[in-house]
C-alpha cells in the first residue's frame, strides 16, 4: 500500500518553518510497520495544491494532506479538495457546534471567517479536532483515501495519532499487509562512511530481510538496520541476526545504539564502575563538559572541568609548570600530560582527560598547523598524552577533539573496573 504526504503552506517554502510534522509522522508510521513513499511540499497556491492532490491520489492508496485549513484567505485546502472531488463545500453541523462551544469557553464569538473552518467537501467523513477549530475530513478520490488535517503541530499530531494511524492500520490489515518493521542504529565514531560501507557490504546479500542504510553526523557514522517480517517476531529475529553479524565488523568504532550518545555511554560506564572524571580543556573550551552534563545525573561521575583558555589558568587551576609552558608552548604533548595529571590530582578523580590544540582559523604555525591537538589521559596506573591532527574548520576540530578524548576514555573503561 503506497502512502504519500502532501504538506501545504507558504511558510514551508520560504524558510520560515521547517517541516517537523513529517519527521514525526514518518517515525510513528514506521513503528506501525509502514513507510511514506514520497513527501510533496507546495505553497498556498490553488493550482499547485490541485495538481498535487490529483497526481498523488492517482498514484497512492493513502494521502495525508496537511495545512491550509485555517480561517484566513490563504487557507485553500478544503476548497481545492472539493474541486478535486467535483463536489461543493457544505457546512458541518457537528463541527460548528464544537467550534461554538470551544469559543464560548474562551468568551469569544464565532466570526464570519471562522465559519470557513467548518465547511468541508460534501460526502467527506468528518473527525472533530480535539485541539483546535478546524475538523479533519476524509475523502475518497478514485482508489485513494485522503486524510486532511491541520498543519499546526499540536492538532496535526493529535489527529494523526487518534484518527489517521488506526485507519492506516485497518487498511493494511484488510489488504493482508501484516508486515512489521523494526529499526536499529549502530553508532560508530571515527570510521569514515566509505570504510563503514566497505566493511558492511558483504552482509547485504546475506540478510535479505534487512535494509542497510548509512547516516553521517561527524564524527559519528551510523549504520541503520531496518528489518521486515510478516510478524514482529520474524522482523526482530532478522534484525538481531544482522546486528550480530555487523558488530564484529565495526570493532572498537561501535560506541552505542539507537538513542545512545558518546557522553552518555562514557557516563554509564563510569557509573557502573563507580569511578569519576575531571577535565582540563583548552581548545575544546568547555565542549566536553557540556556534552557530559547534557546527561541528567552526570554529577554522579563528572566532577568538573578546568576550561583553562589562558595559560596562567593552566598553571593555577591544574598546576601545569610554568617552565613546561614556556619551553614547549601551550599546545604540546607535555602540557596536555600535565593538564590531565593536575586535573586528576586537584579533583581527586579516578580519571582525567585534557585537551590542548589549535582550533583555527588563526594560530597555526608550520610546526603546529591548525588542527594540531594533544589529548592527555591520567589515571592511577599512568599518564599519557597523544598527538592528533584533525582536518577541518574550527567547529570540526573542536568537535573531533571532544570526541577523541571521550572515545579514549570509553575504550579504557569498558567492562568492569580492574
Amino acid at each position: 500500500m503506497r502512502i504519500e504526504a502532501l504538506c501545504t503552506g507558504d511558510e514551508l517554502l520560504t524558510g520560515v518553518t521547517t517541516d517537523t510534522n513529517s519527521t514525526w509522522f514518518q517515525q510513528r508510521l514506521l513503528e506501525h510497520g509502514a513507510q511514506v513513499a514520497r513527501t510533496t511540499v507546495v505553497g498556498d497556491v490553488r493550482e499547485e495544491i490541485l495538481e498535487a492532490i490529483q497526481t498523488l491520489s492517482a498514484r497512492a492508496e493513502v494521502v495525508l494532506v496537511s495545512g491550509g485549513l485555517g480561517p484566513t484567505a490563504d487557507d485553500l485546502t478544503a476548497e481545492v479538495a472539493a474541486r478535486a472531488a467535483g463536489v461543493s463545500l457544505v457546512l458541518h453541523e457537528g463541527a460548528l457546534a464544537a467550534l461554538r462551544e470551544r469559543f464560548a469557553v474562551r468568551g469569544l464569538t464565532v466570526t464570519e471567517n471562522n465559519m470557513k473552518q467548518v465547511m468541508v467537501p460534501a460526502g467527506s467523513e468528518v473527525v472533530l479536532n480535539p485541539a483546535g477549530s478546524a475538523p479533519m475530513f476524509i475523502l475518497r478520490l478514485g482508489k485513494a483515501l485522503l486524510f486532511f488535517v491541520p498543519g499546526v503541530p499540536r492538532e496535526y499530531r493529535a489527529l494523526v495519532e487518534t484518527a489517521v494511524l488506526p485507519r492506516i492500520d485497518a487498511l493494511r490489515a484488510e489488504r493482508g499487509e501484516t508486515g512489521f518493521r523494526v529499526l536499529r542504529l549502530l553508532k560508530t565514531v571515527f570510521l569514515a562512511e566509505s570504510h563503514l560501507d566497505a566493511r558492511v557490504r558483504p552482509l547485504i546479500a546475506l540478510h535479505p530481510r534487512v535494509t542497510f542504510g548509512f547516516r553521517t553526523k561527524f564524527p559519528e557514522n551510523h549504520l541503520k538496520l531496518m528489518a521486515e517480517g510478516r510478524t514482529r517476531e520474524e522482523a526482530r529475529e532478522a534484525l538481531e541476526a544482522a546486528d550480530a553479524a555487523a558488530r564484529p565488523l565495526l570493532g572498537d568504532h561501535l560506541f552505542g545504539v539507537d538513542e545512545d550518545t558518546m557522553a552518555g555511554v562514557v557516563g554509564r560506564q563510569l557509573l557502573a564502575r563507580r569511578e569519576t572524571l575531571a577535565l582540563a580543556e583548552s581548545c575544546t573550551g568547555g565542549r566536553i563538559a557540556d556534552l557530559l552534563t547534557d546527561v541528567s545525573g552526570a554529577s554522579a561521575y563528572f566532577l568538573g572541568s578546568a576550561v583553562a583558555y589562558a595559560n596562567d589558568l593552566k598553571e593555577r587551576w591544574v598546576s601545569v609548570a610554568h617552565t613546561t609552558l614556556v619551553e614547549n608552548g601551550a599546545v604540546s604533548q607535555l602540557v596536555a600530560a600535565e593538564m590531565a595529571r593536575g586535573a586528576r590530582q586537584i579533583a581527586r578523580s579516578t580519571w582525567a582527560l585534557s585537551v590542548t590544540g589549535i582550533a583555527g582559523p588563526d594560530g597555526g604555525t608550520p610546526e603546529k598547523p591548525v588542527g594540531t591537538v594533544f589529548i592527555g589521559l591520567d589515571a592511577a596506573d599512568g599518564n599519557e598524552a597523544r598527538a592528533h591532527r584533525f582536518h577541518g574548520d574550527r567547529e570540526w576540530v573542536r568537535s573531533a577533539s571532544a570526541y577523541a578524548a571521550l572515545d579514549w576514555l570509553r575504550l579504557r573503561t569498558r567492562g568492569t573496573a580492574s
Copy 2:
C-alpha cells in the same frame, strides 16, 4: 522562472532526519529575490528518483537535487541522473585528483567505493566540492537546468552558496527578472513570541513593502523583515525604514542582527573595551564557555571557566568558602556571588560570571524547585548575584541560564568602558 527542489534519501522519509537543508536554501533563495515553487522528497529508490527527475525537469526551469551522491550502495542519484539524460557515467579526472589529495592529507587510501563518487553523467558540468569527496554536477534536461549536490549539510550549503545561487542569479537576470528582496533578522532574547508580535503589529500597515515574520529559537526570538522593491535601492530603503521603526519597540531585548550570536556580541563588546572575562559554571556545565569559544579569536577576551560541578572544586578552583556551601547549599545566592568573586580574582579578569542552579529533572526541593538558578556577576565596582526561575526541561534550563548570564554582561558592557 520556476525553481523546484528534489531531496533524496530514505532518512528523510523514515523520520531519521528532518530536512533542514531546504529551510536554509529557501531562506537564501528568498534573499536573492526568488522562491521555491515545490519541494519533493523521495527515498533511495531508483524508480522514484527517476520519475521525480523527469516530472520536475518537465515542469521547472531550475531543479536543485540533493542527496544520494555518497560512496555507498544506496547512493543512486548520479546513476539515475545519467539514465534520465540517456548518457553513461564517466570518471571525472579533476574530481578524482581532488579526492586523492583530500584523502592523502588525512593519510587515507581511496577505496573502490570512493571511485563511485567521482563518476558523473557524461556531458555534465562539474564543480569541485570544497568540503567533501563528491563533486557537484550540473545537467541540462530539456528546458530545465538541474543542480546535483550532496545532502550533507556542510557540503550542501557550501556548494549552493558558491555555485548554485550565483547561477540562479544569472539565469534570472537573463530573463529580466529584476525584482529585489532584502532581508534582516532583528534578534531578541527573553521576549516571548506573542509579546514580540503584539509590539510589532502596529507597524505592519505602515510598511506595505515589508513582510514581518517571526522565528523562535529559544530563548531567542527573531523578527524577520523582508522588503521588496523594483530596485535594490528601493528594497533597502523600505527595509531601513521598518528597521528604524521596529528597534525602539524591542528595547533592551534586541541583542543583534542577522548572523550575530549572543556570545559573539558579548565578545565584540569586551574586545572593544579591552576587557576580559572569566567564568565559574555549575549547572550550565561548560555551556557558556563553549558558546564563547565557538567564536574565533575568543582568547583575546575569554580567559577560562571553572566548571565546578563538584562542591570541593568550587572551593579549590574559585575559592568558595566551605562554610558558605554548608550553610547555604551549592545552589544559593551567596555561593553564586562567591563563585564569581573567586573566578575574577584567580583569573585576574575584568569581569566574572557564575551560574549555579538545578537543571533537573532530579534534584529539586520544595524551596528550590527544578529551574532555580542563581547567576553572579563580579567586577571592580561590585559583586552581585540574582535569583532566576526557569520553567522547562533540563536543556531549556541550561540554555536559559547560559543566555541570562551572557545577557547580563551584554547590558553591562554596552558602549565604551567607563
